[in-house]
Symmetry: C2
DNA sequence: TATTGTTATACTCTATAACTATA
DNA sequence: TATAGTTATAGAGTATAACAATA
């Protein structure tokens, strides 16, 4: 019985293991590159979310990235310290803040996308067009799963 | 420009973010279930690898699961303490050990696969057949990536 | 001398609980 | 009183470096 014929439970098992291992593999590969600045998964995801939505509050970012508010506090603080995002008072609710990318944040995001994903991008180029196509078709589903 | 038409770099970016977030999401969901015993990603992956290959050395397991030997030492020690794997002298090289599943380990693996993947399996059932098909086709590619 | 595995230690990331400020 | 965010603290998981045993 091949993977493509597996049952739902097998699919869950295999998917969980592959996704966990790939996440670990990417993290390890990234760390080996010694980039400046060294950005973690959630930091980079937060930058990408801010690029997409322009302005978000810390709470919105935490919800979107599936981390707790204190974790996003640290992520936001680190990104602000690096000059990659900026914080402004919320227009109506003074308990909240708005976060947005700085020009430097935008630059770094572009740079990091090229450099930090070098390993994954290289591996993707080594795949066949059919394999890449399979990933592209699965990508929206993976995104849906990660948000649900 | 939709995801399915994206360039290779965009694919790498999106894939990395989705995979990272899904791994984090699954870990969080798992922890909420309070299972007995509480098994981490790498512990479960090690059990699954031992089920597949019957007998492996700690070094082989570490290489397969992309963790460093000291990490696998901890994983193996915890699984042995739980009675889920057993250790035996290596037949020829006395520096090494062979690891294999105990009967209890096999039971727990089956049980954990049902219980611990409940969240992911439920989400997978909520997908359309087309979406599940996309994941099934991508799965071997994800496995390949995670091993490369 | 090289290799396998372990021990000691430290780091990264995230979580829960308690607190502050504002609604 | 409820909510957004922060601070303090702890836990899980992994890594590097140093060590022990064997090849």
């Amino acid at each position: 019985m091949t993977v493509s014929e597996s049952t739902g439970t097998d699919l869950a098992t295999s998917l969980r293991i592959s996704v966990s291992r790939l996440a670990r593999r990417m993290r390890a590969e990234r760390a080996a590159q010694g980039l400046v600045p060294e950005l973690a998964d959630t930091q980079l995801a937060a930058l990408a979310a801010l690029e997409k939505h322009q302005v978000m509050t810390p709470g919105e970012l935490a919800g979107r990235e599936q981390v707790r508010p204190p974790s996003m506090t640290r992520v936001a603080a680190s990104l602000e310290a690096l000059g990659l995002i900026q914080r402004a008072p919320h227009p109506v609710d003074h308990r909240q803040f708005t976060l947005s990318l700085t020009a430097r944040g935008r630059e770094v995001l572009a740079e990091v996308r090229q450099l930090r994903e070098a390993w994954l991008a290289r591996r993707l180029r080594e795949l066949s067009p059919v394999e890449r196509g399979a990933l592209r078709k699965a990508l929206p589903v993976l995104e849906k799963l990660s948000r649900s």
